[in-house]
């Protein structure tokens, strides 16, 4: 059997984190989740990390999504990162500067996000 894609999802809004985790788990992805930037970064820095794609909220406690993107792009330039952001939030431009592969504005539909994930994974 083919190894499932590994995703890291970081969001401090519990309901969104749970919804995204459940959705992608159902779609047979291997999902790791984190509720703040530091916990997310720890997953990224752990030895067995090798994530295929990272989805992060931009405004997070302690380490922001912008920081996560910068760090990931420095360490693993080939790992795609999708930033999700609340409507009209300033960090959107910061996320682009940090070279997020895509910035998705809330609200969005789950299938829309999955399409995006597939597109980036097949690149």
């Amino acid at each position: 059997m083919k190894k499932p894609f590994r995703l890291l999802i970081i969001d401090d809004a519990e309901e969104i984190l749970t919804a995204l985790t459940n959705f992608f788990t159902q779609k047979k992805y291997d999902v790791v989740s984190a509720a703040n930037g530091l916990d997310g970064l720890k997953h990224i820095e752990s030895k067995d990390a090798d994530f295929d794609l990272i989805i992060t909220d931009l405004v997070l406690p302690n380490i922001s999504g912008v920081a996560i993107i910068s760090i990931v792009k420095k360490k693993f330039p080939d790992t795609p990162v999708i930033a999700i952001t609340g409507w009209g939030e300033h960090p959107e431009s910061l996320a682009k500067e940090a070279h997020a592969d895509h910035v998705l504005e809330k609200p969005f539909k789950l299938p829309e996000l999955e399409q995006l994930v597939k597109k980036l994974l097949n690149r």
Partner: protein, 352 residues
């Protein structure tokens, strides 16, 4: 103002609370990144210590660590301190002067009290951060580029200041790539014993290890229940006093007394003014001031008595629902006297 602590190792972050453990962990993870950082926390909580720890664990250690307090300088001066100026940029600019941004090149610039920076200077700072460290000193045509790690510190609630229009939202997000929050000491009393331990060791070494009285277990217990409005800095001062003066018990008594005074001063202004001092109630500073022409003990006393009578009678009337005969019985005065006092003291029944 500025601090070139090239060789000096800063103090460690002492504590066992969840907040402090988390802060240490965060520093370990982000010190390498050089991403803009804001340290939040009340005065005296140790924000600068966090900045120093970030610096020491970063690849920039050994390079300049420059600190500037944004609240201590008037706007124009702060701008020239930050960005520098050319000779002749303004009257009195006799020499070219490098700004802190440039001095901190390849090192760290700590912007303390960032919440006090004026809006126009915030705009300039934002521009520098957006351009990756480019700016032009006052009176200069040329742009200078500085590779500076900006760490800001504040005791303000910047989110609130954004709503009030006092802080730029775009600057907030630009600085706040990493956010480190230090809790006030009253929210983490478990850190007090290790802090006491740490500073006693440090101070006794400074006092040449002479035999000095140190606070015992009972005193430390009491210190753990104090609210420490001045946070770690206040704790340091109290410990220094204890070690130098001895008599730890009395010093602890004093800090608790001063705490009560403060809470009394800031107490709510309730109807009976429980919290005001007698001088305030009698209004010695205003109506009954001895400086007034009309002042005499007799009139001041009459005024004070009237005030007390009015307060007591209103209170009893309110309790009895303005049943005057019931109220007169409670007050132990005749019904007629009560009616007279109500009109004389101009006590009015509540509107129905």
């Amino acid at each position: 103002m500025s601090d070139n602590s090239k060789s000096k190792t800063g103090p460690p972050i002492v504590g066992v609370s969840k907040n402090i453990v988390r802060v240490r962990e965060l520093i370990e993870h982000v010190a390498q990144t050089g991403l803009n950082t804001v340290v939040f926390g009340e005065s005296g909580v140790g924000k600068e210590v966090v900045a120093q720890n970030l610096y020491q664990k970063s690849p920039r250690v050994g390079k300049p660590f420059i600190k500037i307090n944004c609240a201590a300088l008037p706007e124009g001066l702060l701008e020239s301190e930050l960005f520098g100026y050319e000779r002749g940029a303004f009257t009195g600019a006799e020499q070219r002067k490098k700004g802190k941004f440039q001095l901190a090149h390849s090192g760290v610039l700590l912007l303390d009290e960032i919440g006090d920076m004026s809006l126009s200077l915030q705009a300039k700072l934002l521009h520098v951060l957006q351009s990756g460290g480019e700016f032009s000193p006052l009176g200069s045509e040329k742009e200078v580029k500085a590779d500076t790690w900006v760490i800001a510190a504040t005791n303000h609630d910047l989110k609130k200041e954004i709503k009030e229009g006092k802080f730029r939202e775009d600057l907030y997000y630009r600085l706040n790539i990493i956010k480190i929050h230090l809790s006030p000491l009253r929210e983490r009393p478990e850190d007090i014993p290790p802090l006491i331990d740490f500073y006693i060791k440090e101070y006794t070494a400074m006092l040449n290890n002479r035999h000095i009285e140190t606070p015992g277990a009972k005193v430390i217990d009491r210190m753990c229940t104090y609210s420490w409005p001045g946070n770690v800095r206040e704790l340091q001062n109290v410990l220094k006093r204890m070690l130098v003066l001895g008599d730890c018990n009395q010093i602890v008594d004093e800090i608790f007394n001063s705490e009560r005074m403060v809470s009394r001063d800031s107490g709510p202004d309730d109807e009976l003014n429980h919290n005001a001092s007698l001088a305030k109630i009698i209004d010695l500073g205003g109506r009954n001031s001895p400086d007034n022409q009309s002042f005499s003990l007799k009139t001041a006393k009459k005024n004070a008595v009237e005030m007390v009578e009015r307060e007591i009678i209103s209170h009893v009337l309110a309790k009895t629902d303005w049943n005057r005969s019931k109220a007169s019985k409670i007050l132990k005065i005749s019904y007629k006297t009560l009616l007279y006092k109500i009109s004389d003291l101009k006590i009015v029944p509540p509107e129905k």
